[in-house]
Symmetry: C2
Subunit: 417 residues, 2 copies
């Protein structure tokens, strides 16, 4: 029964995608405007639905942090609306000719950006994903099938209903924005293998959710999220800058994937750098764990064990390792990193160059905080997630990453001989 | 036991990939030259190994067509060598900066092409894939783990040994080109889930192989191969051109994925076009099957049933349908097509424009044969396969499609506030 419902939604989404692919930007922008307006106009209904989720959440003993993520307010709805309005001014990638050339036989080949088609998003808790994802998919001409977490069920339902309805009044086909309206886990299973209707799946949430999707999907998946990010303080670093960058990368928002989890320090500057770094980290309540050499300098911290180098703490905890040289730092990153964001602080030209060439990550930084790996900070204007795989999209996924292309080949009777 | 061996190869490939990513183009080109030379110098050994496969194949009763695919000769080895030499003159995509910009906070962000890392190729019968794939992966800085079909076991082993050894003498790290040297099917299973070492899997072969990989892999897969391609003869077509294109698309090489399988004909020109088309197709031994309207004009052909519209014949068989208008043709393609290559023959500007905008396929043709969907015909100079999915690569995959990118972000102490 669940299966039939989801397949029906998939079919409808594909029909909508077919029309959406050729809808003019003006229509899509008008829909975004109406969606933003509707979020504000219908805020009572949405907040009422959210209240149900909040009550249920409290009853189920959800931790305060999760309840806060779940909570909607007038202000938060206005933020979502503002996010949709911001999409209006972004360029529409669809129809852009990335390349066009003529073959010796006279065939003219154009590589043109087109939508992916139907995007499935499987996500947890935060109801704002419902609106953000729907807006970005719409702007890029994709239909979207949303499957949110059960904690936010009523909120997502209200949000999806409001924006889908508003989009339709602007001329967007029914089915372009759909929510899977069941908390039955079978729904996820159906989505994972719905290759006939879904072109891509993007899971957003904890490591458990992402692994489940990766292990069970036959639909192509874009992996997002896990970031075991390093900062390497080189012997030629400006140490004032190094302390600022390390502290920012760790404490600015420790719960996100681009936060630093491991700090590598060149042994030549360890004695100078570590105590200054510790003092600043202490002010923010960061718990340090160190390798043997680190603890020779910072005697009062805990031992870092093998597991620490693998751990994405997502918390105010930092593992610190003293390394003998650049190569050792690079090897450590290669071994323990998740290819998300890696930084070096150095004033040495050749060292910086070698680091950026060899380190394999979506974003490799010189003299800046890893916290910038983010669609807005990169200037993309919006973001559906941060890809941690290499296929299709890498790093922050903005509007361009939600497109594919087709070749349009024009001839005057060419046949192959 | 098999598992340990394959994992060991994966680990070695990853180590090689790390070095290969930063090797200069000159070294890679020198390796390609040596690989080409070695194929010719060691032809005796290779042909001897191939003889073993041929004898085994005959013993096992392989059909002649498959035996022909399997057969190696001095000429075929020279063709493979020539393919490797042709890669030398192609531009190296690695290190190309596709985009570079400066953010308001002074961060300079460059998007730079880098190799994917380690590519797994799972393929059937033709031993030339061993050489072609290894060459293209090497040119693009990727390590490759090859798993060929059991029929070509000895041939693949000899080819892989010869080229891997030659590459090493030019300074390519050991492990950059490796063959899975067992016919145990467990090896494939290990590769499908070897996410820690493989960045992408590309299956090449029949529909069964590709489905097996898609259904069981957790490593990201690029789907290749299935092409249920259409040609639509519009009412405004130049009928001479239409006949030439239809015949070429069907008979030039019926066994490949870009061959036409279904022909759609506008009813206004059906009576004129169909008999002329039939006459030419008959000369090539093509068996026609037709819808009711087609059979009113071509009385002596078989009935086309629902299954025909879904079938990739890969043979001298063609299903023909008369449609009432452009929309009906587009709907038919949307329903039965595999998004590979679709063509229209028309002299009408608006008809051509609508067809190219709406039809969703890797390659959409106006007034040309679908047979051109091919890396060499597109001017890519080489091809690892033809992607029939939308993620990452679509259509012919040349050197650029075997790359990903990283962002290199340069700052002078930027932190996020």
């Amino acid at each position: 029964m669940v299966k039939e419902v989801i397949l029906g939604k998939g079919k409808l989404a594909q029909e909508a995608a077919k029309q959406l692919a050729v809808i003019d930007t003006n229509v899509k922008n008008e829909a975004l405007k109406k969606m933003a307006g509707a979020l504000v106009q219908k805020s009572n209904e949405i907040l009422e639905a959210n209240q149900k989720d909040m009550e249920q959440g409290k009853k189920n003993g959800l931790p305060d942090a999760l309840l806060d993520r779940l909570l909607l307010t007038e202000d938060r709805l206005e933020d979502m609306a503002e996010g949709l309005r911001a999409l209006i001014s972004l360029p529409d990638p669809i129809g852009k000719v990335d390349n066009m050339w003529k073959q010796p036989n006279g065939l003219e080949i154009a590589q043109v950006k087109v939508p992916l088609g139907v995007i499935g998003i499987i996500y947890e808790s935060r109801p704002n994903v419902t609106v953000d994802a729907a807006g970005l998919c719409l702007k890029t001409g994709n239909a979207v099938l949303l499957r949110g977490g059960s904690e936010a069920f009523h909120s997502n339902q209200a949000l999806a209903w409001v924006i889908a309805h508003a989009a339709e009044t602007a001329g967007i086909p029914a089915g372009a924005i759909q929510l899977v309206e069941t908390t039955d886990r079978e729904a996820v299973q159906v989505m994972l293998t719905m290759n006939q209707y879904l072109d891509v799946l993007i899971p957003r949430g904890g490591a458990g959710l992402i692994q489940h999707v990766l292990n069970n999907a036959t639909v192509p998946v874009i992996e997002t999220g896990v970031g075991n990010c390093h900062t390497f303080i080189d012997c030629d670093a400006n140490l004032d800058m190094a302390v600022d960058i390390a502290v920012n990368a760790k404490v600015h928002r420790p719960g996100v994937c681009n936060a630093m989890e491991n700090l590598l320090v060149h042994e030549e500057v360890a004695a100078q750098f570590l105590p200054r770094m510790q003092e600043r980290m202490n002010q923010h309540g960061v718990v340090l764990r160190g390798c043997t050499k680190t603890r020779e300098i910072l005697a009062d911290i805990e031992d870092a064990v093998e597991e620490d180098w693998h751990t994405e703490y997502l918390d105010l905890v930092l593992a610190v390792k003293v390394v003998g040289n650049l190569d050792e730092a690079i090897d450590h990153i290669y071994r323990y990193g998740t290819k998300h964001s890696e930084a070096i602080v150095t004033e040495n030209y050749s060292t910086a160059r070698k680091f950026t060439h060899i380190v394999d990550a979506a974003a490799v930084y010189v003299n800046a905080s890893t916290r910038f790996t983010d669609g807005f900070q990169f200037g993309f204007g919006a973001e559906i997630g941060i890809s941690t795989q290499k296929l299709h999209a890498r790093g922050p996924m903005g509007p361009e990453q939600l497109t594919t292309f087709k070749y349009i080949v024009q001839g005057d009777g060419q046949i192959r001989s």
